[in-house]
Every structure is written in C-alpha cells, then in structure tokens.
C-alpha cells in the first residue's frame, strides 16, 4: 500500500501551474504604472488605452494593481494555509489516535483533550481573532495572514481527524501494529500518507477560505489593505462601484478563481496515486 502512495514525478502541467504561481511574485516588474499612484481625472476609465484593464475610483491602473496584488494576496493565503496545516494536521492526527487496545493505555486522555481544543478553536469567530491579532501585532498583511490561518486550523484539524480515524481503525493499521510498529510509525508512516488526499483537500479549502476571509475583513470594516494592491481589496473596491465601473472587479475576480483552481490542481497532482487519474 505504501508504495502506491509515492507521488509520481512532477508532470509538465504541475510545472506550468507552479510557474504561474511564481509569475505573480515577479509580476510587478511587468506593471505599466505605479499601482498606488492616484489620478483623480482618470477615475473610472474603462478598459482600453492607455489603461488596458481600466482604472478604479482613484484613477489607479487596474492591470498594474492586479500584477502587484498577486504577491500580497498569495503571500497571505499561502501563509495562512501553511499555518493551518502545520498546526491543524498534527492536531487532527493526534486527536484521531487512540491508544492500541490490550496494552497499557497511557495518554488515553490525549485525543479527548485535543478534540476539545479543536472544538473550542472552532467556536472562536475569525472576526474576533482578526481584531485580537491586529491589536497585538498591528494591522498589516502578517496580522491578516495569522488571523486567517488560525481560523482555518480547526477545520483542517477536523478533516484530518475524521480521515485519520478511518485509517487508524482499518485492518491495515491493526496488521502494522501486530507486526510491532510503534505508534509514531503508525501515525507518520501508515496513517498520514493514506490521508494525503484529504489533507490536500483541506489545504485547498484553507487556502481559498483564507483568501476570501482576508478580503471580508475589509467588508466588515476591520480595516484592510488601505490602498496596497490586493486582489481581495480590489474585489471590494469594485463592488463599491459595480454599477459605474464593473471592470474593477472582473480582473481580480478572474485572477482569484484561476489561482484557486491552479492551487487545487497542484495539490491534487502532488498527492495523486500512481494509477489514479483525478
């Protein structure tokens, strides 16, 4: 079973997706204008020349803001997703674990304790987390990423826990234990690879929800990017003027959807089994 789980060699599609994601980290070099420069006379210019994708309420070039915005947006969402995974997966895995029957059962309380931790974290709204993190660390992309990441820990942990329980209760793990595998090995070698698909799904959810939640902070009036180019913030700006200048939201909207799609494909292809075709 283990052999079947090894990720296959990176196919060209994966490389392409990675390249697209990487592109947004160097994209500012291609921006035709300063993304922060306002020009009130050029307010709400429709797509065309000289502004290929039009301008926003401040007369800022939408294309340039989109090229710059990817950096901040992706950095926030990737950091948040990473945080959610780094904390959430171990938490969920340990909460799924049960001491094997028939031996002395130390740590029998641990899964219950961790389960409670997951549940309590679940109950904390992202809104409050954001306020607290902003208060402690000041507003800025780091705070937003941390707040968004923390609020995704519980869902990631819960998905990991549920998937992990299924594997841990399977005859396969029983067999491994019967052969004398230590618990650490059971979790890391026998369980984790078998739930990789679920972890990937949880990761992509954490990524996209972090992206959306960081933008929702602006909507809820918790302050936001304050002019810094950011796809979520652009979408919000566009909403404020959607009757007059619908183009403001279209570019970042398409960019966000493509990015979620790409990230999703990437996650899937990295965890795909050799003979799978998902």
């Amino acid at each position: 079973m283990k052999a079947a789980l090894r990720p296959r060699r990176l196919p060209w599609r994966t490389v392409l997706i990675l390249a697209v994601i990487a592109f947004f980290f160097i994209a500012p070099a291609f921006a035709p204008y300063d993304p922060m420069a306002t020009d009130v006379d050029a307010q709400f210019a429709p797509p065309g020349l000289p502004y290929l994708l039009g301008t926003d309420q401040f007369g800022r070039d939408v294309l340039s803001r989109m090229l710059y915005g990817g950096q901040r947006t992706l950095a926030i969402a990737l950091t948040a997703a990473a945080l959610a995974l780094i904390v959430g997966v171990p938490l969920g895995l340990l909460a799924a674990w049960q001491p094997p029957l028939g031996r002395r059962r130390p740590l029998g309380w641990l899964p219950h304790l961790l389960n409670s931790v997951i549940e309590a974290t679940f109950a904390l709204p992202g809104l409050l987390l954001a306020l607290v993190v902003i208060t402690l660390l000041g507003s800025g992309p780091v705070s937003v990423a941390i707040a968004a990441g923390i609020s995704q820990i519980a869902p990631v942990a819960r998905l990991t826990q549920i998937a992990g329980r299924g594997v841990l209760a399977s005859p396969y793990v029983e067999a491994a234990r019967a052969l004398g595998a230590r618990e650490r090995r059971v979790l890391l070698r026998h369980t984790l690879p078998n739930i990789a698909m679920h972890v990937a799904a949880a990761a992509i959810l954490a990524f996209s929800y972090s992206l959306l939640n960081s933008a929702a902070l602006t909507f809820l009036g918790l302050g936001g990017a304050l002019g810094e180019p950011d796809w979520g913030a652009m979408l919000y700006d566009g909403r404020q003027a959607f009757r007059i200048a619908p183009w403001i939201s279209i570019a970042p909207g398409v960019a966000i959807t493509l990015m979620v799609w790409f990230a999703d494909r990437l996650g899937t292809s990295l965890t795909m089994r050799r003979n799978g075709s998902a």
């Binding site: 409670s116 709204p125 809104l127 607290v132 959810l205």
Partner: protein, 306 residues
C-alpha cells in the same frame, strides 16, 4: 468511565476552554463599549469610573473571570453592557433566522456540492474539468460579491425576488443560493477528493470486474467509504453557519447571530460576544457528536474507536 460520561466531561471541558479563550481574548482589546460611549457623550472621568465600577469592569481580569465562570455555571450569560438586556435573550431572538438560513443554505450546498464533487471525481474528462472549474469558482467567489450581483440581477433588474429581510420563504431564496454556492465549493471539493480516493481502491476494481452494476458499485463501494469525510465537511459548515453567517446576513439585511456578533464585537459589548461564543462552542460539540455518530453508522470500523 463509560463512553457517555467521557463525552459529557469532554463537552464541559470544551465549553470551559472556549469561554476562557474568548474571555481573555476580549481583555486583550483596548477599552470596552461602555467606556467608549461615555467618553463620546462627554462624561467626566469620575462618572465613567463610577459606571464601570457598577458593572464590575474596574476589577482585575482574573476576578472578573471568576465572576463570569460563576454565573456561567448557573446558566447566566450576563447582560449587555450597553442595553442591560440579558445575553441569552438577545441570542434567542436571533436564533430562528440563523437556523433558517443555515438549514436552507446547507441544503443547497449539500445538493450542489455532492453533485459537483461526484461529477468532478467520476465524470468523463471534459466534464471533470468543467466541474473542477465550477468548484474553483464556488470556492473563490466571495459572498459579498456574488450576493451583491445576485441582488442586482434578480431583484433590481428582474424583480423576481426580494432583496432581503427575513420571515417569508421568498426572502430566503437568494441568500440560501448565494451562501449555498460558496459552501458547495467546500463540500464538493471534499467529495471529489474522497471519491477519487475510493474509486481506485482494489476492491472497487474487483467489484467492476465481477460485473456488478455501476450504480451498485458507486453506492456501495465508492460512496459509502467516502461518506465520513463528506459528513465531516458538512458538519464543519453546519457548525460555522449556526454561529452566524455575518457577511450574508449583512448583504441580505437579515437578522441573525452573525450580525449580533459583528455589532457586539465592533462595539466591544463583551458579554454578548462571550455568550455567542459559548453558544457556538455548544453547537460545535453537538454537531460533532452527530457527525461522529453518523460516521460510525457509515463506517463500522470507526465505531470501536470512539
């Protein structure tokens, strides 16, 4: 200790943990709602001190915490700093609308999510790609944007549905669809992952070669083992929804826990925030209990463990 008692103890621990976390998280924020309001009204520092003392806000955080836990044990969630209304009552007033939206949007999400996820995992190549893209769209389109667009099209332009409010079924349609679409992304993605995983299990291949009907294979060998993860994801979203869908409630001008929470958080009316989070923790505990129970029904292997 038997399973039920252990479960109950764990639930109490969860509630305590959530209550403690929120209590101290709120104390990290500067000021409180009453203080801010009184300063703006031009109250003298002496008056402000007097008012805060009357509510016990002048005491050290730890003393306030013991009082808070003390009343919590007796089931008392306290009163709003700004209106003196019992928090339990404030929450109860918003529950109906929240439950209504949660149920409706979850139904949409489950229906659309299962459909999209199944197609994305099992459909032909072209259909899979299409479903993939739809899922990515659902996952990446923020409610504040799709909601605005939906109102613009279906209400302002076509005049088909009301723009918001609560009470009538027609007022539920747009928010349920918009929020449901977003949640369908999550359910669909998990469904897709689970189905993709189970469909290549050796026993499924065996079932196919044995010549079982495709629908039988789908239901018994692919869907059933995939159920735990899907049920889990539905549970996660149900718990979130019952804690209030703040953006959807704002856009569709609906009453609900989410807006109560937003207002109370921004106005720093701490007892309300605390009350809502204790409610949310209770919801999480109950939903998780139901989810685990449902998973145990679906997957006999797990029954032993929990």
């Amino acid at each position: 200790m038997n399973g039920t008692a252990r479960r109950a103890l764990a639930a109490v621990f969860t509630l305590w943990l959530a209550a403690t976390l929120v209590f101290f998280a709120l104390r990290l924020l500067p000021g409180d709602g009453l203080l801010t309001q009184l300063i703006e009204s031009g109250a003298s520092p002496a008056t402000i001190a007097e008012r805060r003392a009357a509510l016990g806000l002048d005491q050290p955080a730890f003393i306030q915490y013991t009082h808070f836990l003390g009343s919590l044990i007796t089931g008392d969630l306290g009163v709003s700093l700004l209106t003196g209304q019992p928090v339990a009552e404030l929450i109860a007033q918003q529950l109906g609308a929240t439950a209504e939206l949660a149920l409706a949007s979850l139904s949409v999400a489950v229906a659309a999510g299962l459909a999209l996820g199944t197609v994305a995992a099992l459909g032909s190549r072209v259909i899979r790609r299409l479903a993939d893209a739809l899922l990515a769209f659902a996952l990446s389109a923020p409610v504040y944007w799709t909601g605005t667009l939906a109102i613009f099209i279906f209400t302002a332009r076509l005049g088909l549905l009301p723009s918001g409010g609560a009470g009538r079924l027609s007022q539920l349609v747009l928010p349920a669809l918009v929020l449901g679409l977003q949640l369908a992304g999550g359910i669909g993605r998990v469904t897709q992952a689970s189905f993709s995983e189970t469909k290549i299990q050796p026993h499924v291949q065996t079932a196919h070669t044995k010549g079982l009907r495709s629908s039988t294979v789908l239901l018994r060998h692919i869907a059933r083992p995939a159920l735990p993860a899907i049920i889990g994801q539905i549970g996660i979203q149900a718990a979130f929804l019952l804690g209030g869908a703040v953006v959807t409630e704002s856009i569709f001008s609906r009453p609900g826990i989410g807006r109560l929470l937003l207002d109370a958080t921004l106005r720093q009316d701490y007892p309300i925030v605390q009350g809502i989070i204790i409610w949310a923790a209770a919801v999480v505990v109950i939903v998780n209990l139901l989810v685990d129970f449902a998973i145990a029904l679906a997957d006999p292997r797990v029954r032993e463990g929990t």
